[in-house]
Amino acid sequence: MKKQLAYFLMLFWCISTQAAVVDDMLASYKADGASDFSASRGEVMWNKDYPDPDSAGKVRNCTTCHGKDLRAKGKHAKTGKVIDAIAPSVNSERFTDPKFIEKWFKRNCKWVLDRECTSQEKGDFLVYLRNK
């Protein structure tokens, strides 16, 4: 019983950190000038193809590495290293560390879109992914 309670509290703590972290980030994006965020806009962008600057005819998108199923593990496009699932419903560590999120937004937007994402786009991604 005590154990169950402990698990419940841990889960609750994770979910609440997640919620708080994402809310804080959304607020700061808004402060940067973003307007209301849209999960459906985020979803469209998540699945959109961008030309691969390294090989003509090929495309890159978020699922290249994260996989089509957000709840499944992904694979690094170059090295093949396994990437933990991005959906917070199966991976409670997701969206709990603002520094980590910003680092990967920067890296991955540059790799897929060949530019950094705007605050609006990052917010759209977050509201799309947070409930997955």
């Binding site: 390294d54 090295t79 093949g80 920067k106 890296r107 790799w111």
Partner: protein, 379 residues
Amino acid sequence: MTTPDSTNKMLVWDLPTRVFHWFFVLCFIVAWITHENDRFLYEHVYAGYVFFGLLIFRLLWGWVGSHYARFRTFAYDWPSVTSYLKGLLNGQAMRHIGHNPAGGWAIFIILILAVLVSISGLLVFGGEEGHGPLKGIISYDLGSAAKEAHEFFAIAMLLVVFIHVAGVVVESFYHKENLIWAMISGQKPAADDAFQVRLYPLIAVIVLSTIVISATFYFRGYITQTDAKPFIPFSSPALPSNATWVTECGECHLAFHPSLLPARSWLRLMQDQADHFGEDLSYDDETTKEITEFMVKNSAENSPTEPAHKIKASVSVNDAPIRITETGYWKRKHEEVDEKYWMSPGVKSKTNCAACHLDAKTGWFEDSNMRLPKLVKEK
């Protein structure tokens, strides 16, 4: 040649001498076969240990063993050898119950070379590999130099072994007695002046059981290993680590140990972090500084491992490769790896060291801690 079961046989070679002889042969063969592939260093070293142990036994047995096993019974001066060899040519060479003068010399030369092979092998193992009884006592450079000597003595010993075998064959036909069978059965046709020797079975059993027990102990990891937890033959003390390095450098690929490239390579790599093989790492100054310091401090120049020494030696001082796969040592070591292994689903990328090197994470990359992956079709 006399058949083994002909009349009037007598025991010439006691049992310990025969056990020594054939296991010594076996160790020599195993050591030759296993030296070809670094992957079998663990087995090579075991063959070497048994070889050395048997050698020490034989050196003692040469003083306290049965008559024909004792050194003084086949220690002939050089003129005896030349007159024996001349005798062979003009058909007057005398039959010897024990070793003949030429054979006796071959035995002594083989034993001396065996001592040199064993000692130089221990030097290489202690210096270059950092294992065995001389670990920590012998410098890497001395171990590395001993490797040349080890190879030289082994080749020299092989040559004398060929001469020994050729002599045995010639002598067998010449005196019409099967000397190879004599080393198995221990028996030879009797002669008037011959010495009756004892069998010493107990000593032979002790020698044999020492080999069997030590082999079981040494190789027990192969018996108890599973697919999920393969046996890792060599383990070494952990090299320095750093939490930031482990997490930051291990997110997209194996956190390559700093000992795998020279410091100048790491400096260049970290300076170019905004274009890290096409990706922007975007580390803040603090993270960059911490990782750079750790990499430089533990670079190939500053690490005790064999790959560190060899990578450092294989990179020209004017070069600062940013891929480990660009170093001469890496290329040399992997040129024989078949393309099908690189393409197999368990490997896929040359960054995936751990697909074959069970201890890739530790940075040691021990020779025997390496397995080619099973080739399975991707589902």
